[in-house]
Symmetry: C2
Subunit: 542 residues, 2 copies
């Protein structure tokens, strides 16, 4: 009997095989929901038919400017329909989208434009001085295309105007899928706290699978109305730029996150879903809670970047947010794990519930494996909720690698795993919990202290808005915890001793911060607290 | 500047690329929901941890019997946990699942076992006489494994017992994903009304994408409870065997579709979703409607195989079914299109609504393109709702091809399209509507008559349970329509003239059946009306 019968005369062909790409989502939704509102923005709204047409026009215009396969197109603007459109128009032209962090300084932008070899730069004229500074002295400055919302571009700064280019493009442009689903679709630079940013390359296959998986994990349907409180430049908006389009939902753009603006959008546009870092959730929950706001219907809020503090979980419910905790990295297209809700959590006391929900959880659909690996043996640690190891992933939604950086790529992918650099434990129920960044753990008298655990206690203090704990070198103990605390606006005065006393009731004595520094915390452009700066500060005693 | 920067040092590796396969769904749900009920059956229920363990055991047992990559394993049993398990255990062993239609006769089963080169046959002992007859005289009879629900296997008939094999297997069997996602996962024989059945080969990639897409199209979540009113042998249960597992829902097995049993399962198990052919929906809606049943909560019913008759759509709502119309073929993993609900249909009159819902609709997520192609030019017909053409598909959920049948495969895939053989029109809103099978169209005096259109009218007659219209040769007109009608049980007598008069008010006179034959309609094992038999009957004047 032929054992190769299933491999014979059954080859892939054009009818039954084509590359996976999230560009299909827009084509489909424009077909199925042509008259439905796809995008709402300050300056108007577009149906799916219009959204698709604008992207096809821009793709054809980019091609007519000589931009094609594997060319980098950078975009510098706030969450807006233009940035959303670029997630489709740029890859439809065969090119690679590089969404720039709007909080970067000129030097960082210059580094990225140069390293990424940007052929074109689409920028909101609001950022013109920054752009002018960034491109200064570049050997191959990118072709500049101005997005003139507030005011026209300064003569000589931009070669083209975004809307004019769209108008010049072909509304029926016959864009092509990538030749191969492994082709690059986007380039996202890490916001590393040290060293030059690294260029993370995403492929079409991963973006498709991430879009589908994120839509499913978040129960999205054509009725979904998604408010863009998460920057679209951040891992391509955790791939929700593509996921919302997949289900035919509505994107509501929001240029700046302010509580009042968010509340208006939720109420007027019937928002169902939103995402953000804990700092955003924090802000909204505190402001809404204080103002006695109750949202008209439950709003799903996916929080990621760090675990939501317990008190925020507690306050979110009464306001009307239903929190899902996601975890991920730039390298994993944003979310790679989700703290899936279990029905038997319903009866839990708040503290126990919050402890469950603060965990990073289980792999999303396209993850093959999420494990905590022993740093000695490289094998999974026991699922005892105790043994520390490094969180590692494998699956179809991990980057192609770092651009022009094979050494870092090789370091990130070892023995068939992507190493997250986060120290975690595996709980008996199969949920992973990150205890700390590998470099954030504090080792005091030979004991590991999780900075996150101490921070969790600090966040419970009623006057504390934000807290970060880092290691301070100590002659006797090696390291001791040092706390940096930012109090809420208008909070009554709190002393170092108050904080220490508060900690005493919530942790083992060796974990109690030996020093407490008050003041605002330094942050990266994506809102991560810059512990490297705090560490330097703790070390120098300031 | 290097233009290949995105193709250099960014190769696929074990950490960031692995074949797509629906086997991942079971692994994930067993990890995330180990204690949740995965499968309910007459003889018990299994959690996801148990379900997964049983499949791993069986996969290891199959391998120890020498079954591996590209070996065919056939299964003959009703919807049951064993058949569901086989959707995982067989491909986990690297083999290819061939779920047999339980309504086939021995000769057809023999043909399939021989053509598919079955290495093993798992069968419910209820089918033992059929199996004994089918394997008679086979040169390479398959290894027989008995599923002894009702009574043990006759000594000598089976080499192994299903439960003993499971008990002997390794609960921690380290199954492997297929080497390539294009590898075969299953083999489904068409229930063609003429000629030998053809062996449709599915691949792992398509089964994964179909599972994800079907779960999304039907808004499935971990709370989904799916009642198996659709045979699992039918296109692998339209891939819901995999989709329900993907979301971590509950499979409720049902060996035979009887209204009372269905009602009990819906009420006791809190069923949320089910699927079936129109004949099943028909039966349930009529019985429930007659008995004044109101389902406790809305149940989603996806109907496919043919459009639901208007009257059934009308009655389904009050009973508590929410109908979604799916369309597909064995070659497209079951559903390829879905009649997506549009919000502006809400205000429609019943007839207009039913007309909208009866359409086949738009492509599911993994379809790249669904078009109606002119049979003259091969190009899409105008979207005018009038011009007939052949419905054609391209996308990632179309078969690898027909097993050992390159000629038929080449005929099915032409010019980059899969040809469905269905005649359809494209409506201005982008929804395709099948008017007839190419071979079912009636050409009378040069005019096309859609047999389906005439049948739709017949179905509106209050005494008509089922109707089929075929061409009868006619000297003057070439062909004329001939109706075959099955009346409802206990319906008052209806004459041929009554039917003709009823038709007169609903269609152009040339479309009115020239003869009406009363009696039960011949059907295929999957419930399709066998028009070829009716055509012969009409031709011979009986």
């Amino acid at each position: 009997m032929a054992s190769d019968k299933f491999d014979t005369d059954l080859e892939q062909q054009a009818a039954n095989y084509s590359p996976l790409t999230p560009l299909s989502f827009l084509k489909r939704s424009a077909w199925v929901f042509p008259h439905k509102i796809a995008v709402k923005d300050d300056d108007g709204e577009f149906t799916y038919a219009q959204f698709y047409e604008r992207c096809r026009r821009m793709a054809s215009a980019l091609q007519s400017l000589g931009i094609g396969r594997n060319d980098t197109v950078s975009v510098l603007c706030f969450n807006s329909h233009e940035l959303l459109e670029s997630h489709y128009s740029v890859p439809m032209a065969g090119a690679v989208l590089n969404a720039l962090n709007t909080r970067l300084d000129a030097a960082s932008i210059r580094f990225i434009l140069q390293h990424g070899e940007a052929r074109a730069l689409l920028y909101d004229t609001e950022f013109e001085p920054l752009v002018a500074e960034a491109v200064k002295g570049l050997e191959h400055p990118p072709l500049r295309i101005a997005i003139a919302h507030q005011h026209p571009a300064t003569p000589g700064m931009a070669a083209y105007d975004y809307e004019s280019l769209i108008a010049s493009g072909d509304p029926n442009f016959a864009w092509q899928k990538p030749h191969n689903e492994w082709d690059a679709i986007s380039l996202c630079y890490t916001s590393g706290t040290t060293g030059d940013p690294k260029g993370v390359v995403y492929h079409h296959r991963g973006a498709y699978l991430s879009g589908m998986g994120n839509a499913m994990a978040f129960n999205m349907t054509p009725d979904t109305v998604y408010l863009w409180t998460l920057p679209m430049f951040h891992c391509n908006g955790w791939c929700y730029t593509w996921a919302i389009t997949a289900v035919g939902g509505t994107h509501v753009c929001l240029r700046k996150v302010q509580s009042q603006a968010v509340l208006e959008r939720i109420r007027e546009d019937h928002v169902t879903h939103m995402c953000g870092a804990p700092v955003v959730l924090n802000l909204l929950v505190n402001d809404f809670s204080q103002a006695g706001v109750k949202l008209p219907t439950k709003v799903q809020f996916a929080v990621g970047g760090a675990a939501p503090p317990n008190v925020i979980i507690a306050k979110a419910g009464p306001v009307g947010f239903q929190i899902t905790h996601l975890y991920g990295l730039t390298e994993s297209y944003g979310p790679s794990t989700v703290c899936v809700w279990q029905t038997d959590w319903e009866g839990l006391e708040l503290d126990d519930l919050a402890a469950k929900m603060a965990r990073q959880g289980v792999g999303l659909y396209a993850m093959d494996d999420v494990q905590v690996l022993s740093r000695e043996t490289g094998l999974p640690v026991p699922a005892d909720g105790q043994t520390l190891g490094e969180l590692a992933h494998r699956g179809n939604t991990l980057m192609k690698g770092y651009l022009k950086n094979p050494a870092s790529t090789a370091k990130a992918f070892q023995d068939g795993w992507f190493r997250t650099g986060d120290l975690a434990v595996m709980h008996p129920d199969g949920y992973a919990e990150v205890k700390d960044r590998a470099k954030d753990i504090i080792i005091s008298g030979g004991e590991n202290i999780s900075s996150k655990e101490v921070e969790d206690v600090l966040y419970r203090h009623p006057q504390v808005l934000e807290a970060a704990v880092v290691a301070r070198p100590d002659e006797r103990w090696g390291e001791v915890p040092c706390a940096f605390v930012c109090l809420k606006e208008g909070a009554p005065a709190v002393s170092e001793q108050d904080i220490v006393n508060f900690c005493r009731s919530g942790m083992a004595s060796y974990k109690i911060p030996k020093a407490v520094v008050f003041g605002p915390l330094p942050k990266t452009s994506t809102g991560k607290i810059r512990k490297n700066i705090l560490r330097d500060q703790a070390r120098s005693g300031h």
